[in-house]
Symmetry: C2
DNA sequence: AATCATATTCAAACCGCTTTGGAAGCCTTA
DNA sequence: TAAGGCTTCCAAAGCGGTTTGAATATGATT
């Protein structure tokens, strides 16, 4: 059942039927109701392909997931971020197109999306320091929103980000207040923008109290459980050992905890741990009482927000792009306590 | 730059240019080369929307992710499965459309995809026992491949699945051979088909040795770290306590290990653990020596396979759908050992 | 009653490609 | 030399909607 069939059935022209269904004012209310009823009765759904060609809009947004060809790691937060974004798109009648692209191929992928016209805009994931994609998308005039920021980008651009620097500053302060002086940082790879900012927050908090960072107590690794374990194990082997860890993800923290327990220590008593918690649905930080003290910010909510910002930009592009800095909440769990007496 | 422009530029008809670019035989080789060269020079990419309308193919496949409205859990294996599938689609020039759909809305979502024609086929995720989607998709003649199986489905359908029953049978056998007699099963929710099969494998292995299953040692929970912890903790509180656990996912197993260590036991010595390992990229089971003894099957490889099966079905629908049963490998890690002497 | 504004409807062009059904040109073949 | 067969190209008709520009009907105004 297509528009022509339906209009013949109604004894009306396709024009009128189309207008009736799309809420245009120049159609008699009585006719509109008849059309609506007939459309429902015959279960008429306009063909997406035809709409797209006729209107010139793709009614779809792209999420380009770069796969690091060396590591082939799929960032586990994508699932939740995209679930959040997907809710927004569904409501707006947009499709979500997922492109898995080897990281060398990204520029080509974006250009092709533009010239083939199968998306109206894109979400940029995992920005690096001074990320080339921002300039590129700007050049080809493809609407976009970045999940995260890319320090060093020359042009203004739309983004949603957690205040990573402040979150880690606060977390570090919290540990310092508890008397911890040797704090290990287990961070993500520091070509990722968020990791740079977290490190900065950590270092700033130390220097604000007249301390300096200890390179031996700082790690920047791919955020897996195994790496969280290795980093913590190695630092615990030092003398003096750290009395607290600041860990950049829940998954790494599971490895950190493993190293701690293997070392015969009790987390929250002998050693403190603060994590950053993306509030992943399959990786909840405890139910009632959080296991880990954490700086928390829902990546799913960020997905919802980024998506609706993108739809806004597509609908009416503005010269000054919107930005949203989300503050992480600091929630107290069972994994932190006063620094043990060095006696 | 569109086809018309390009053809005018070349002094040819759009027909000939289109045919030249699409490799049709009825065009002079010399002309074809000229056309190809001009297309490259002007960076001509045919408009996807127009191709789709003209050919009637969507050149896209849908992945419908049901979100359980009660739990709102996003299955963390999606990220890797979709990364695998995405590789296949990219090579074939297909788009991957991701639909996040509240679980009550699935039927409507599929019907709409069909009538709007924005996908040529779909992958069905997380099948339940006797899943209604199989009949539905069959009825509306939408090509599909199921990731997993749905026992009880009346019609034949295409699927890719791990031999879950055998995997858990073998894993249980392995534990029994080590002398374990009280084995705890920490399974996923048992309305999911894979969980039913794993349970069946477990029970069959026991009965094959004249044992019967102990309901107190079996849990079916949502597969989160916290639930893995709770299930293990509760079972360890029983007397006699289990000497081994069979755990349905890596993430749950992290919780299980936490309970074990909290209980003052050493995994691999005091208590054994076998897991099912989906070989997730961000959740590797150790590098050289696996942490957990595991039945392993790459969900990413399953994604690749499912995707290419789907593209095959779309290209030439066959009356007898293809099926692929993947065998999990049993890999020995550090988490298993002989049952401790009950002395 | 003629004029004009307004409300309602429609025919046809258009979006950018594919594909059908010729047609022209050139060789063969009888 | 006419007929038939290839090769190569093209005009035009889709695909299924939206949108422009015009036509018709209705009611109000003078």
């Amino acid at each position: 059942m297509n528009l022509k069939d339906l209009s013949q059935h109604l004894g009306l022209s396709p024009t009128t039927v189309s207008r009736a269904l799309n809420g245009y004012p120049e159609v008699n209310e009585a006719t509109r109701e008849k059309v609506m009823a007939a459309a429902k009765r015959h279960n008429y759904k306009p063909n997406t392909r035809a709409i797209r060609l006729a209107t010139g809009r793709a009614m779809a947004v792209g999420h380009v997931i770069p796969i690091e060809t060396r590591h082939e790691i799929v960032n586990p937060i994508f699932a939740d971020f995209i679930a959040g974004a997907g809710e927004t798109y569904a409501r707006a009648g947009y499709d979500l197109i997922l492109s898995i692209v080897p990281d060398g191929d990204e520029a080509r992928a974006y250009r092709e999306m533009k010239s083939r016209g199968n998306v109206d805009g894109v979400i940029v994931h995992s920005p690096r320091h001074d990320d080339f994609r921002i300039g590129l998308l700007h050049d080809i005039a493809m609407p976009f929103v970045v999940h995260g920021r890319a320090t060093g980008a020359a042009l203004p651009y739309a983004w949603v980000d957690v205040n990573n620097r402040r979150a880690f500053h606060r977390a570090t302060d919290f540990l310092l207040d508890l008397g911890h002086r040797r704090i290990g940082l287990i961070n993500g790879l520091e070509f990722m923008d968020f990791a740079i900012r977290r490190r900065a927050g950590f270092v700033q908090a130390l220097t604000a109290r007249g301390m300096t960072e200890t390179p031996a107590l700082m790690r920047a690794v791919e955020m897996t459980e195994a790496n969280g374990y290795i980093a913590a194990r190695d630092m615990l082997a030092q003398t003096p050992a750290p009395t607290a860890f600041l860990v950049s993800s829940m998954i790494m923290a599971l490895g950190t905890r493993r190293a701690i327990e293997e070392h015969g220590l009790i987390m929250g008593r002998d050693i403190s741990v603060i994590i950053h918690d993306d509030d992943l649905s399959y990786m909840q930080n405890g139910a009632d009482v959080p296991i880990f003290t954490a700086t928390r910010s829902s990546v799913r909510a960020a997905g919802r927000l980024a998506a609706s910002m993108l739809l806004d930009t597509i609908a009416n592009p503005t010269p000054t792009p919107a930005t949203h800095l989300l503050e992480a909440e600091l929630i107290i769990g069972q994994s932190t306590g006063p620094a043990p007496n060095r006696s």
